[in-house]
């Protein structure tokens, strides 16, 4: 059961990663990157690392995304890869 779940999560994570680098819109790129972190934190839970999971969720998908968004907001009208 767990391996299947893990595989699914990994696939989501990788798709999110591809989206993050390849999608035309920077905004969606940033949010996808946040999604990758979020998936990763679930993966950490499965891998018996709750501390890491919490950190990744709070920092990787939370704060880091906020920072990206702050910077994006300063840079307007520009979203091509």
């Amino acid at each position: 059961m767990l391996p299947v779940l893990l595989t699914i999560l990994v696939i989501i994570m990788l798709l999110g990663g591809l989206l993050a680098v390849e999608h035309k819109s920077l905004l969606i790129g940033v949010i996808s990157a946040g999604l990758v972190s979020l998936t990763a934190s679930i993966i950490y839970v499965i891998l018996a690392a709750p501390d890491v999971a919490m950190t990744e969720a709070a920092i990787g998908s939370g704060l880091s995304t906020v920072m990206f968004l702050y910077v994006l907001r300063r840079i307007k009208g520009d979203s091509n890869a």
């Binding site: 919490m54 709070a58 906020v66």
Partner: protein, 233 residues
Amino acid sequence: MLKKLFALILIGGLGLIFFQLYNQRSRREGLTKTASYYTEKGPAETRSANIVTSVVVTYRGLDTLGEVTILFAAASIIGFFLKRSEKGSKDKTIRNQSSELLQTGSMLLVPLIFLLGIYVFVNGHLSPGGGFQGGAIIASGTVLAFLANPSFEGGRTLIHILESLSGMFYVGIGVAGIFLAAGFLDNRIFPTGNVGSFISAGAIPVIYSIIGLKVGAELSAILYSLRDTKEQQ
């Protein structure tokens, strides 16, 4: 196009290295020597239920101090860099006010989030979570405060004081370890208590709280600096 092809080739090469790395790794059944020591002796020596915490705060406490320093350095750099380059553009950016609902809601929520953050780090030695997580949660409270009120100015001075004081306390507790216990950042400067109880693990909860405050302060400072950058015309 050529660039992409070349990048693919390089990544293929890296893939080869990774594959060798993977092939060569030792396939362990049990823990490594170091990990066994931490899991066997860790709870007894540090009295911290969370073994990761005991490793992070005590055995590898210097790493954590270093990591806090990195955050501190990043916050300082961003601070002086953004502040200096904003000089001369005194005009405060007009920020859109958010809805009243959000404002009121967040005013209620922010203290709660702070409380949650504090809860996470003071329990770092017992359960998952600790200084970083708690600190990050506190910082997300700051984010919420900004969302609610984009020209929120509260706590700026407090952040700087916290930043300095928590850092100094951290170093101070570390040094106290040299005098009162067996070495720098030794947690046994306070009574260690029993594994699993709230008052236990010696200085670990104290250190983790300091880390939490420090991380929260640093991240909030970074967010403050980022928020205050000049909008592009």
